[in-house]
C-alpha cells in the first residue's frame, strides 16, 4: 500500500490536523481511484462515516497497520459510491444515507438500513425533515423456486440475546440464502457524540457494545489523547492493557462455552461459565466493576490496582482448569462432528471484508491491532497472534482457545512488570496550554482551532475504530465509532450458505457479532 499511500498524499487537496494518522481531503477523482484500489485489494476499508457535508473513508494497510483517512466534500449531497465496487461498504453507505441524507452515486442497494421509518424524522443528523412513523415494510432479497420456503426469525429471539431479524430461504434443511435485517437497537450514537463534553462522550462510547466496554473506552481515550495532545502515565498504560486482557479472557471463555452449548454440549458451558464468572469477580475485586465500565478515561485510568494477588490466583486457577476443557473439546467426537467443516468462511472473503478478530484470524487473515498498528504496552510484551486457516466453527473455537492462553500470558507479564507512579494526568493544564497561541507554531496551527484523533484498538471481537474532532476546550465536536461487527455480519450470511438451518445458532455464536455495536 505504501506507493498507493504516497500517490494519495500527492493528490491531497489539504492535509488536516489529525493524529496520529493523516486525514487528507481529496477530489472526486481521487476518491474514485481509492475505491477502485480498495476493491483491488491494495488497502482494506477500515471505516466509512459522514458529517452533513462530507464523507470520510479510513484505509488500513494490513501489513504495517497504518491508517489514512480520505475526506470528500459533498457539495450537492452526493458522493461516488464505494459500495458499487466494494460490497463491504454497502451497509455503511446505507447507514450514511439514513442518518445524513447523503446519496452514494451508483450504489446498487438503495433500501433503508438503520431507518425503519420509526424515528419520525428523515436524515436525523442531516436535514431532519419530519415524516410519519408508519414502519414501512422491508423488501427482502428474493430466492425463488418451488421447493424453497422462508423462515423468519426475530427481532425478538428465543435466547437471552440482542434483537435482529434473520430471513432464511431454505430448501428443506439446507439454507439457500440468509438475509439479515439489523438496526433495531439503533440508539443514535453519532448524534450523541455531536457537540458534547468529553466526559459525556466517554460514557456513551463505553456503552456502544457492553461486552467490549474496556476496548471502546481505551479507543476513545487514545483518540481523545491524540486529538488533544495529552499524555498518559506509564502505570495507566499498563493497567489499561490489564483490563483489556481480562475483558478478552472473560469474553472468550464465555464464547467457547456458549458455542459448545449451541451444539447441545452443556457441560462445556457450565465449566466455562464458572471460569468466566471468576474473571468477572476478579475484575470487580481489582477494579470495582465486573465489566470494568468507565475505568479508562482520557488521561489515564480512574482506579488503581492495589493488590495483584486476586489476579495472580485467577490466572493460576484458569491454567489448572482450562486445559482439561480444551482436551474435552478436542476429544469429543460428537461435538467435533458439529463444529468441523461447519460455517466455512473463505480466506478471500475474510480479507476483502477486512474481517477482524477471531473470525478473520480463523480464516487466515493475520491481523491483530495489538501487533499492527500496535499500541503500548504491547510492543514490550511477548505474545503470539493466534491464527488458523480452515475458517470453520472449529477454527474459530481454536483461535479463541489460543487467545485465552495468550491473554493469560499477557496478564501475568503485566502484573509482574506493572510500573509504579500516578494513574492519570489531569487534562485541564494541558488544555489551558493549548489555548495559548504558541510562537512560531503558526504554520502547524489547525484552522478554526479543532484537532482530530483516530485510534484503533483490538477488542475481543476485533479492531474497534474511534474518530474524534475536538476543540481547544476539550469539547467533542463530532465523533464516529466503527465496530468490528460491521464487516463481520455480512460474512455470516456467506458462511451459513449451504449449511443446515439447525447449524445456524452454532455458526451465529461462533461469529458472535454485536448488534448494538453494529446498529449504533
Amino acid at each position: 500500500m505504501s506507493t498507493f499511500r504516497t500517490a494519495l498524499l500527492n493528490a491531497a487537496l489539504t492535509v488536516e490536523e489529525q493524529k496520529p494518522w493523516p486525514r487528507i481531503t481529496v477530489d472526486g477523482d481521487t476518491w474514485r481511484q481509492a475505491t477502485l484500489a480498495i476493491a483491488a485489494g491494495n488497502a482494506t476499508l477500515a471505516g466509512l462515516w459522514a458529517e452533513p457535508d462530507a464523507v470520510h473513508m479510513a484505509l488500513l494497510d494490513d501489513q504495517d497497520g497504518s491508517l489514512m483517512v480520505l475526506t470528500l466534500a459533498t457539495t450537492d449531497g452526493r458522493f461516488p459510491s464505494v459500495g458499487l465496487t466494494h460490497p463491504p461498504a454497502q451497509r455503511l453507505e446505507r447507514s450514511i444515507t439514513d442518518l445524513y441524507g447523503l446519496v452514494p452515486e451508483g450504489m446498487p442497494d438503495d433500501r433503508r438500513w438503520l431507518d425503519h421509518d420509526r424515528w419520525g424524522v428523515r436524515a436525523p443528523l442531516g436535514s431532519g425533515a419530519p415524516v410519519p412513523t408508519d414502519g414501512a415494510p422491508y423488501a427482502f432479497l428474493k430466492a425463488e423456486g418451488p421447493p424453497l420456503h422462508q423462515i423468519a426469525v426475530g427481532p425478538v429471539h428465543a435466547g437471552i440475546i440482542e434483537p435482529g431479524h434473520f430471513r432464511f430461504s431454505a430448501n428443506g434443511e439446507i439454507v439457500v440464502r440468509l438475509e439479515e435485517r439489523l438496526g433495531y437497537v439503533h440508539k443514535g450514537i453519532e448524534g450523541l457524540l455531536t457537540n458534547t463534553t468529553l466526559e459525556a462522550a466517554a460514557k456513551v462510547v463505553a456503552r456502544v457494545s457492553g461486552d467490549s466496554t474496556v476496548a471502546y473506552s481505551l479507543a476513545f481515550a487514545r483518540a481523545a489523547e491524540a486529538a488533544l495532545g495529552v499524555g498518559v502515565p506509564q502505570r495507566a498504560i499498563w493497567l489499561r492493557a490489564l483490563m483489556a486482557e481480562l475483558e478478552r479472557l472473560a469474553n472468550h471463555l464465555g464464547d467457547i462455552g456458549a458455542i459448545c452449548n449451541d451444539a447441545a454440549f452443556a457441560l462445556m458451558l457450565a465449566h466455562c461459565g464458572m471460569l468466566r464468572e471468576e474473571v468477572l469477580r476478579t475484575a470487580k475485586a481489582s477494579f470495582g466493576h465486573r465489566l470494568m465500565m468507565d475505568r479508562i478515561m482520557p488521561g489515564g485510568v480512574t482506579v488503581d490496582l492495589h493488590d495483584a494477588a486476586p489476579i495472580k490466583a485467577l490466572t493460576t486457577r484458569v491454567r489448572q482448569r482450562f486445559p482439561r476443557l480444551v482436551e474435552l473439546y478436542d476429544n469429543t467426537t460428537s461435538l467435533q462432528n458439529r463444529t468441523v467443516a461447519t460455517g466455512c468462511l473463505s480466506a478471500d472473503l475474510a480479507r476483502r471484508f477486512g474481517a477482524g478478530g477471531p473470525i478473520g484470524r480463523a480464516s487466515g487473515r493475520a491481523f491483530d491491532a495489538r501487533k499492527a498498528p500496535g499500541y503500548p504496552p504491547y510492543g514490550d510484551l511477548d505474545f503470539k497472534m493466534a491464527k488458523r486457516d480452515n475458517g470453520d466453527v472449529d477454527a474459530r473455537i481454536w483461535v479463541r482457545i489460543d487467545e485465552v492462553f495468550e491473554s493469560l500470558e499477557l496478564i501475568e507479564q503485566i502484573v509482574d512488570r506493572l510500573p509504579p507512579g500516578p494513574i492519570a494526568y489531569p487534562l485541564a493544564p494541558a488544555l489551558r496550554e493549548r489555548r495559548v497561541p504558541q510562537a512560531g507554531g503558526l504554520a502547524n496551527e489547525p484552522h478554526d482551532n479543532t484537532t482530530e484523533g483516530l485510534a484503533m484498538v483490538e477488542s475481543f471481537r476485533g479492531d474497534v475504530l474511534v474518530w474524534l474532532r475536538t476543540d481547544d476546550s476539550g469539547r467533542v465536536l463530532r465523533g464516529a465509532v466503527r465496530d468490528p461487527s460491521v464487516f463481520q455480519w455480512p460474512l455470516l450470511e456467506a458462511a451459513i450458505e449451504g449449511n443446515i438451518v439447525a447449524d445456524f445458532p452454532l455458526c451465529n455464536k461462533s461469529f458472535n457479532c454485536s448488534y448494538s455495536g453494529h446498529d449504533l
Binding site: L114, H116, R118, W119, G120, V121, P124, G128, T133, G135, P155, V156, A158, G159, I160, I161, E162, P163, G183, Y184, V185, H186, K187, G188, G191, L192, A200, K203, V204, R207, V208, S209, G210, D211, T213, G254, L267, A270, H271, G273, M274, R276, E277, L280, K284, R290, L291, M293, R324, L328, N331, T332, S514, Y515, S516, D519
Partner: protein, 173 residues
Amino acid sequence: MRRMLFEGLFRRPVTEGAPAVADAEIDALAERLGVAAKARLGRSLSIREVDAGSCNGCELEVHALNNSYYDVERFGLRFVASPRHADVLMVTGPVTANMREGLERTYAATPAPKWVVAIGDCAAGCGVFGKSYAVVGAVSDVIPVDLVIPGCPPEPIDMLKGLIGLVEASARG
C-alpha cells in the same frame, strides 16, 4: 469427560446460598403487585428476556444468572424461549424507536397474570441515551413496569434479589 462428571458429583457445589431479601421489601412488592397469583403460579416464574435497545452489558449479567454460582433455576426461576410461556418479562435497554413495536407485541403475547421487570439504568430511565431521536423512552413509557432493578449493568446478585422478591411476593399475594 467421565472424570469431570465424577468430580462434579463428589466436589462441593460452587453454588452460593440464597441472598437475603428483607420481609418488608417482599411485603411492599406483594402489595404493589396486588394480584392473587399464588393459586395459578405457585413458587415458580417463567421469564422471557427482551432486549429493547441495550448495549448488551445487561444481557451478559442476565446470562450470568444461569451459571453455577447463581443457579437461578433452584428458585423456580426459568428463562423461556417464548413470551407465550412467560410470567415475567425482563426488559433491558432504553426502548429504541425501532424496537418499540417488538416490545409491545411481546408484552401483548404474554398471558396474564404477568409482570415486567426493567433491568438496568437504561430500562429505568434511558441511561446515557435519553437525548436521542432514536430512543422513545424508558420501559415504563411503553409498557407497565412492576419492578425496577437499577445498575449499569446491575450485578447478577441484585437481579437475583429482585426476582426472589417477586417470587415471594407473588406467592403471598
